[in-house]
Amino acid sequence: MNTNMLSRMRLSNCVALVLIAAFAVAPLVAHGIGQPFYIVLISRIMIFAIAAIGVNLALGYVGMVSLGHALYIGIGAYAVAISLHSGLANGWAHLLIALAAGGVIAVPIGLVCLRTSGFGFVMITLAFSQMFFYLAVGLRQYGGDEGMPLPSRSAFFPLDAANATTFYYMAFFVLMLVLLLLHRLIHARFGMVIRGCKLNEARMRALGFSTLRHKLVAYVISAEICVLAGVLLANLTRFATPSYLEWIMSGDLVVMTVLGGAGTLIGPLVGATVWVVLEELLASFYIDLPWNLSEFIRSNWTAVLGIVIIVVTLTLKKGLYGFLVARDGGVR
């Protein structure tokens, strides 16, 4: 049984390693086959993955289902956009401003939201992100609902963020950093507490933990990870728009997380990859199939996506990567 377990253990870890290795070499491959466009696509996947990892910290490890994390993507994006707009080009400064703003906003919102639980929490997080969404729509001098193009990318001296490959590796570095942070965090004392909260919060209190404080810190960290993703997203698209704050965005992030496997380290990365690639594939589906099926899929790709989601939730109840982890027997 032990050897069997070991060989299985390798499966989920192998998938994780192969995936990360693929991300590491993707730009080289893209240049190699003369399709540098894919660098931008995969940059976007990684940015969503970072955000989904942030969502996963709250959702997968603490059990806080937030439908409002798009708010923090928006804060990251608007921090960059407004700074650039007012003449501040230094990307490191953007990063600081974004994280500071994220913290200032996440702490009080987290405190209020954490008074509720279950579906109340879902709705109150949604409420706060909607408030900021309408605020962004009302920011006339910053483009209102039409959004705001950035004159350039942030200047991350000495790196050249304007170069697609450099930018890609910046996003890759952030992704790795966030994964490492999370990997350490969930196995550290703090991680034990928040995972305990997910499993049985009343018991945690009876053990003597002030669960509110721990959950709040977890919420703020997960929000700040999304702020990072927002900073990157604004730079990738050179655009800041209220639609980054919409609840649809929060919903997409939750879907990516759960699709990949909530409460697993690599799950959100798998989920983001599968989600964006599926969207890309289905929306421009040009594979020849009989009975005009190809045309049908292309014009009804959202329905196909919906069916995929339903099938995944009915069959692989722990998500794509979560399924592998569960086969390997454990939370790793």
Partner: protein
């Protein structure tokens, strides 16, 4: 000074009186058992002591400190450890991780984000000590989901011990156990007795009479008798209450 002193405790649910003007003391190192027919308000009492329920009236003092209005986690931090009637361990964690979590609760800060708990000697060593005490050391690295019911109850006790408690609140630790498992539990409790103050709620009468220093009998939330086991055995009111129940049960 008493370890625990409960004075005039009253708990009402709407019109229902679940705890009726209860006084109770536990001395350091004493094992005090609470018995009573179903619906006597035993679990309600434990919940009020541990802090998940607010009493309607009365006060609770732990080592002279009034903790009546304290939240659960502060009471726990002061040394009030509760084991649950329904096993309430973290099944996704391993046995030792469960105990380490309890050790961690007592050991100050949990805001450490980097060091793996398994390489944290301040958690692992005490946890192993306690597992050795309760006889679970050989299953330390097994996920709780895979160990038997009796083992989980022992783990509950281990977690309570890991909190470095002054007072253990044990809510039916032998419920659902096989005969041999119960015997092991009695041995364990006998070993713990004297080191900690223990409030034991239990249906297994032979265990209660074998272990308890004092026994309080609750009926409909009201203490009808309190004394040493042999006094209780002879008490008329107690016999009436229990005989009455048996008649209904039969």
């Amino acid at each position: 000074m008493s370890l625990l002193e409960v004075k005039g405790l009253v708990k009402r649910f709407g019109g229902l009186l679940a705890t009726d003007n209860l006084d109770l003391t536990i001395k350091p190192g004493e094992l005090h058992a609470i018995i009573g027919p179903n619906g006597a308000g035993k679990t309600t009492l434990i919940s009020q002591l541990s802090g998940t329920l607010r009493p309607t009236e009365g006060s609770i003092l732990l080592e002279g400190r009034d903790i009546t209005r304290w939240p659960v986690h502060r009471r726990a931090a002061l040394g009030l450890a509760r084991s649950y009637q329904i096993t309430s361990v973290f099944t996704e964690f391993t046995v030792i991780e469960n105990v380490m979590l309890a050790v961690q609760a007592r050991s100050g800060s949990s805001f450490s984000f980097w060091t793996n708990v398994h390489s944290d000697a301040a958690l692992v060593e005490p946890a192993r000590d306690i597992l050795r005490q309760v006889g679970l050391l050989d299953v330390a690295d097994v996920p709780v989901a895979r160990i038997a019911h009796g083992g989980r109850r022992q783990l509950e006790i281990a977690m309570s011990l890991a909190m470095a408690p002054r007072l253990l609140l044990l809510d039916e630790p032998m419920a659902g156990m096989s005969h041999s498992e119960s015997k092991e539990m009695v041995t364990l409790l006998r070993r713990l007795k004297g080191q900690y103050g223990i409030l034991l709620v239990e249906h297994d009468m032979s265990a209660v009479f074998a272990l308890a220093d004092r026994i309080t009998v609750l009926v409909y939330g009201k203490p009808i008798a309190c004394g040493r086991p042999e006094e209780i055995r002879k008490d008329k009111a107690v016999r009436a209450a229990y005989l009455g129940e048996e008649e209904i049960a039969a």
